[in-house]
């Protein structure tokens, strides 16, 4: 069955736009946009990762910035000790991420609901303060990388190459997750969201299912962290501050929980609005422009409230990309 809903078209258009953006930016001689879009895709990646457990598993983690931090600090620490090999960076990030996410997840999943939210937040803050105490890596000030990760086959120091690496990682994760959510594991995860008690009564080891989903979701955020450190050539404790966790959550809500690609829309819209509002200059009467520039977060907050109130399925759901429209 071919399903060309408005949502599918919007999703295809967004991916096409992201695929062509560097070409457009270089034609328009606006290389800055490559960096901005790279940033958008990195946060989109983190949001897609978190959404696996939020949208499909019903687990509200308020601490996923922790895993962005793990990815970023894996790059930062190895760079500090003079190891530039990108494969080593990724391997270290994924191994540390798996160990930390398994341990943290095992504790967090003893709780549910508000308890789960608070424990995930607490763990993220613990690691945030741990990063601040890394005096060799600049503590609070963060640490500037001497170079980006070295992958031999391609040269990340070129912003366009880095852009396409991020783009393909995002595409791969979306493809993998689109298979996963329809596979036995994904169906079981959705079952746990709806009625965990019944799932246990049908023979599912729900705790293991949820922990596995938690670790997978964390690892996607770890990858986002590796890419973020490379994009900014900088690692900082602020990557794992609770506000970052909150931003990713809001991106998902803005874009729509129930779909895989919704969070990508949310991340792009969120960072685009942040960019537009913080450099707002439309010549509005009075000091409106300056007010919006200085207090862009107020406007963004009002938008999130409006979306939460009036677009139950988020921006992408509004475009017709909801599960109902797609099935």
């Amino acid at each position: 069955m071919a399903r060309y809903t408005a949502g599918t078209v919007a999703a295809a258009a967004l991916i096409l736009l992201l695929a062509l953006a560097p070409v457009i930016a270089s034609l328009a001689e606006q290389p800055f946009y490559v960096t901005l879009l790279s940033r958008m895709m990195i946060f989109a990646l983190a949001a897609v990762g978190l959404n696996l457990i939020l949208g499909y598993g019903g687990m509200v983690s308020f601490g996923h910035a922790l895993y962005i931090g793990v990815g970023a600090y894996a790059v930062g620490i190895l760079n500090f000790y003079g190891i530039d090999n990108g494969y080593a960076h990724i391997a270290a990030a994924l191994v540390c991420g798996t160990v930390i996410a398994t341990l943290v997840g095992a504790v967090c999943l003893r709780a549910s609901g508000i308890g789960f939210i608070m424990i995930t937040l607490a763990f993220a803050q613990m690691f945030y303060f741990l990063a601040i105490s890394f005096k060799q890596l600049g503590g609070d000030d963060g640490y500037g990388l001497t170079s980006r990760s070295d992958f031999k086959l391609f040269d990340l120091s070129d912003n366009t190459v880095l852009y396409y690496v991020i783009f393909f990682v995002l595409l791969l994760v979306l493809l993998a997750f689109s298979r996963l959510v329809e596979a036995p594991f994904g169906v079981a995860l959705r079952g746990c969201k709806e009625n965990e008690r019944r799932m246990r009564a049908m023979g599912f080891a729900t705790w293991r299912i949820k922990l596995t989903a938690y670790v997978l979701s964390a690892l996607v955020c770890v990858l986002a962290g590796v890419l973020l450190a490379n994009l900014t050539r900088f690692v900082s404790p602020s990557y794992m501050n609770w506000t970052t966790s909150g931003d990713i959550l809001l991106m998902i809500v803005l874009g729509g929980l129930g779909t895989l690609i919704g969070p990508v829309f949310g991340a792009v819209a969120w960072l685009a609005l942040e960019e537009i509002l913080s450099s707002f200059d439309l010549g509005l009467p009075g000091n409106a422009d300056a007010f919006i520039r200085d207090h862009w977060a107020i406007v963004l907050g009002a938008l999130v409230i409006a979306v939460a109130l009036y677009l139950k399925d988020g921006l992408y759901g509004y475009l017709g990309g909801g599960r109902k429209a797609a099935s």
């Binding site: 298979r179 329809e182 036995p184 009625n195 008690r197 049908m202 023979g203």
Partner: protein, 250 residues
Amino acid sequence: MTALTVRGLTKFFGGIRATDGLDLDVDSGDIHAIIGPNGAGKTTLINQLSGELNPTAGVIRLDDVDVTHVPIHRRVHLGIARSYQITSVFLGFTALENVMLAAQGQRGKTFSFWQPVARDAPLVERARSLLARVGLDDAVHTPVSAMAHGARRQLELAMTLALQPKVMLLDEPMAGMSRHESESMVTLLKSLKGVCSIVLVEHDMDAVFALADRITVVVYGRSIATGTPKSIRNDPSVRAAYLGDEEEPA
């Protein structure tokens, strides 16, 4: 042969004895009804048999295997499956997806991340035949949220059957059903005779006396009588405690 043996089962909730030294023997292939007034501890008993609650004391054996402390999801694989008094199906899924999910739970292999379940032909086939068995053949692709209460109860039964239990624990399968719906449920449960043993908790006395091979009467968490429907109907202590003296049960 005894499928399920319960000895001295006791459950305290604080100072309250919800189950008080209860003994029960469910013979293989029997429909064994548990009746008793509200608050007698019937659901608490089912919760302990299924593994959702840990008993304070006592032993539960399935085919002579001690399952007293086996967690619920593993007990399913040993052959004890339950349904719920409050219909417990997955509203966001279609009827077929619900039964497939149950069948998947029974089969295991949940940690598979790539092949879509919808293309798993044996699983789909099994789910379809179970839906046909409970009379839901024409509601295969209906979202559960659009199904009537009676149909949801039938679906819940199909999901419990999908677990291929040796002993099926049904907690008030007729609850909230119309007369007509209860009658078709009775026919359906009769057709399951011999497929597995059934422990049936039910308030609908017509249904109980129509279906049960044996009946155990539970009052204050204790079994006060066990026997055939006929002997239970004529037991004076049962009539005093529960059935009511003045009314002749049909």
